[in-house]
Symmetry: C2
Subunit: 315 residues, 2 copies
């Protein structure tokens, strides 16, 4: 496999980067992890995933503290927060082989637009939407609770018309590692679909200090989640993207069957990290508004979260 | 004065009942306080108000632990939470002289409708809306930060056509004690006007764990407050009540000039007491909806608060 795919670099090896990187490495791909605070722990103890689906996984991996030390990679999976893309750009460029494919495994809209100007023209840029319940438990230790699929879409690059072939190559790569992956014809559509989940659950987990099980058990929060999901579907439609029939209801049912889960934004807030409000709320709201569509509940959720986020940063 | 007004009873002597009762007693009215948890403290040390407006006030007052011990009162000011009206009814009946005037110094809509069936037909029922920044600091100790006006309106009683005269008598009573008071021609209008303040500030203080100063300092929360105020004005209009021109803007400016203030709902939530959601949110939403008017932000705020309130009560 290695000869066909080449090297895979993982930038930002939190829960997302760590999980997918380990799955790929375990499947025999040549994977290289760029780490920051977890470097020492991973170098000494390797990477560990406690997975409800795949059991206990533990692997010694190629770990780097600096992008300058990494070999040039043909695929780069970026699992860091969208809020840190500006500082990540130089590291991505440094680790990328000529013509490399860079995949932003991040939520929200506009993250590729933001990063693109900082990348050389010969790099392909893709987006990946992860449907997975995964959390970092300790340095180098990841807990995988449920799901795992990655939906990929092409953003931009040197051969726009070859984009879909690259997306399919990426999906095949994940599939070869035992990960469900779908090649999406439209990246924006893929991103709006994931927003149907992120908009209600990420925001409400912060605002109500609640994980998915209590949110799905209360009549008022259930209705509010459904109303927020409907607004996201409406926003996508205003932007010309028709989500699959019954898609919101599908994600609602999937969440009902999930183990109790704290969305990543809850952890970001609890640990006083910046919230991914621009990509998950502000940009979708702005695009819907530009298309003449007001998403009132989503706007109110964004206002409340922006207040909380600003207070954290001022403290 | 006493011969004209007769005895005044204060039922529920928290911050509101304590402040107005003390002002009336200080002005020479014959005031009697029904107390629960604060009985021993007030009986021993009297009632104290630290007022930014009136200075340090301290008075020995007539305190009772039981309504059965009180003399029959001609006016009864009810300062307890609307959430406890069902248990208060028998105490009100016990303390009321024949033909007494009962004033619910409570926020929200429908509180008189709820209490009325439990009162004898010969009692007059009024509502009072307090525009005041006041908090209970310790048993028998009240901190008065700003404002103080009471708007009164008539609800029901033996002589419906004499209602307005009774409201004016009540307003004169407060005025004689140095308290601004307005006789309102329509109680529902008075209650909707107060909701313009309560709906945004009470709810957001709980949801964002924020007092008025930070809420008025942040661009997002400011806009949200204005949008919520506009929804209340719209709800009132749908119910046939036109609030004074610029009323929301007036309350917004007043709040901007207030000292930093934690609304009562914040204290209720912090102390795990039930929130006054029925009167302040559910009833106005239901009335607006019955009039064909959906107040989306207010509904969302209510859903979020209902979730939090239910969780507190389940804990």
């Amino acid at each position: 496999m290695q000869s066909r795919t080449g090297r895979i670099g993982i930038i930002g090896s939190g829960a997302i980067g760590g999980f997918y990187g380990l799955m790929l490495a375990r499947a025999g791909f040549d994977v290289h992890f760029l780490l920051r605070s977890e470097y020492a722990a991973v170098r000494e103890q390797g990477l560990r995933v406690d997975s409800a689906r795949h059991g206990q996984l533990h692997l010694q991996v190629n770990a780097y503290a600096s992008a300058a030390d990494m070999p040039a990679c043909d695929w780069l999976l970026v699992g860091a927060k969208a809020t840190s893309n500006a500082e990540l750009a130089p590291l991505i460029v440094q680790a990328a082989a000529p013509g490399a494919k860079v995949v932003l495994l991040q939520n929200g809209l506009g993250v590729e637009d933001q990063l693109r100007p900082a990348l050389p023209d010969d790099l392909h840029l893709l987006g990946g939407l992860c449907f997975i319940c995964v959390n970092r438990e300790a340095p180098g230790v990841i807990r995988h609770q449920a799901l795992g699929a990655v939906n990929l879409g092409y953003h931009s690059g040197p051969a726009e018309d070859a984009g879909q072939a690259i997306v399919e190559e990426g999906a095949a790569l994940f599939q070869a590692a035992g990960v469900d992956s779908q090649a999406m014809a439209d990246l924006d559509q893929a991103r709006w679909q994931k927003l149907v989940w992120n908009v209600p659950y990420n925001g409400l987990s912060v605002l109500l200090q609640a994980s998915t099980t209590p949110l799905m058990a209360d009549a008022d929060s259930r209705l509010l989640i459904q109303q927020l999901m409907a607004e996201v579907v409406e926003g996508a439609r205003a932007c010309g993207l028709v989500l699959p029939e019954g898609y919101a209801e599908h994600l609602f049912r999937v969440t009902e069957q999930m183990p109790d889960y704290w969305p990543s934004m809850y952890h970001d807030h609890a640990q006083q990290r910046p919230l991914e409000l621009q990509a998950i709320y502000a940009e979708p709201l702005a695009r819907a508004r530009a298309a003449g569509c007001t998403l009132t509940r989503m706007e109110m959720l964004y206002q409340a979260l922006a207040f909380l986020d600003r207070r954290t940063r001022q403290a």
